[in-house]
């Protein structure tokens, strides 16, 4: 259950920032989730929702970003990792859609692909950097 302890940490931080800014309501929380972490976004969302019941964030939209690692090679080749955003609740309407973007048809091969990609310049194995974070990017509040 490492999603639960991470969700606790996120909520603790979000609430203290909201309080410091005299928030009456938290409208949106944007979180960046590294693709190389073992975080399951669906479990993370479930834990966050549960922990935020009866708080000023109970109706908040949680926007997730998938942060892909940067790929580097000792020859100097560098490929910047993509950041893909989920739709907000208002945009997506359906709750499922928020998660779909993070679910690849074959997650296991998705992760392995980062390891086995040879450098397009020199064909050595690429080294992944980043993609190991869980970042509270921003919160939208009403004061």
């Amino acid at each position: 259950m490492h999603e639960y302890s991470l969700a606790c940490e996120v909520v603790k931080n979000v609430m203290s920032i909201a309080e410091a800014n005299q928030a009456k309501e938290i409208r949106t929380i944007t979180l960046g989730v590294g693709k190389l972490t073992h975080i399951n976004p669906e479990q993370l969302l479930f834990c966050l929702k549960t922990l935020m019941t009866d708080t000023i964030a109970k109706d908040a939209d949680i926007v997730l970003q998938a942060i892909f690692p940067n790929m580097e090679c000792e020859c100097g080749y560098y490929e910047k990792g993509e950041v893909i955003y989920s739709a907000t609740k208002r945009e997506a309407k359906e709750k499922r859609n928020i998660l779909d973007f993070l679910k690849e048809p074959d997650e296991f091969h998705g992760i392995r692909a980062f390891f086995e990609t040879p450098c397009p310049k020199c064909e050595k194995m690429l080294h992944a950097s980043g993609g190991r974070e869980l970042i509270i990017q921003s919160i939208d509040i009403e004061q």
Binding site: M1, H2, Y4, S5, L6, E9, V10, N13, V14, I17, N21, A23, K24, R27, G34, L36, T37, H38, I39, F108, I111, R112, F115, E116, M125, R132, E133, L134, I135, I136, Q137, S138, I139, D140, I141, E142, Q143
Partner: protein, 216 residues
Amino acid sequence: MLMHVINVGHDVLKANDMLAEKNKELLDKNGVFAINIMGAIGSGKTTLIEKAIEILGDHYRIAVIAGDVVADMDAARFAKLGITTIPVNTGRECHLDANLIENVLSSMNLRDIDILFMENVGNLICPTDYKLGEHLRIVIVSVTEGDDIVLKHPMIFRSADVAVIHKTDIAEAVYADCEKMERDVRQLNPNIPILLTSIRDTESIEQWCSKISSYI
């Protein structure tokens, strides 16, 4: 009402990494070499640490932090060998983290320790995301987990410094191909040292111990 966007940029996992760095500094200051032992339930983590204590115990002062959801059993096994043992109950958590380790370190007499084993909770997934402040990360898999276990858990093999394929003596009985497991580890982490060990093969246990002491 006023709408307001607050940029935060706080990395929750980085907070653990920073705490881990602090732990490492404390260990360095006291001349302690810390080893994070990771592996699935029943892979042989406790047994291999016991063997290391038996063989290396004459040359080094060894202590163990035994992490488990309920930690007392393994700790009792280590305590029998007459070394400092601290059980860490992780409660609902499936891994040790830098915060738990920080609390334990503050209660230990680090000046009296040369090697500190941190036996992680039996799990090949969650421990990967959490640094503890260790100098060496060792992952142990046993042939009984099936010879496809390595490719199923790419991240932990990628992040480890040493890989151990254990219980090789019963590989045939469980239809596991040790060479395939070795190849899979190499594919994920080409330069990682790989040890094949079995409790019945004294030579392999000696290699395990000399591998550890080669880092110290």
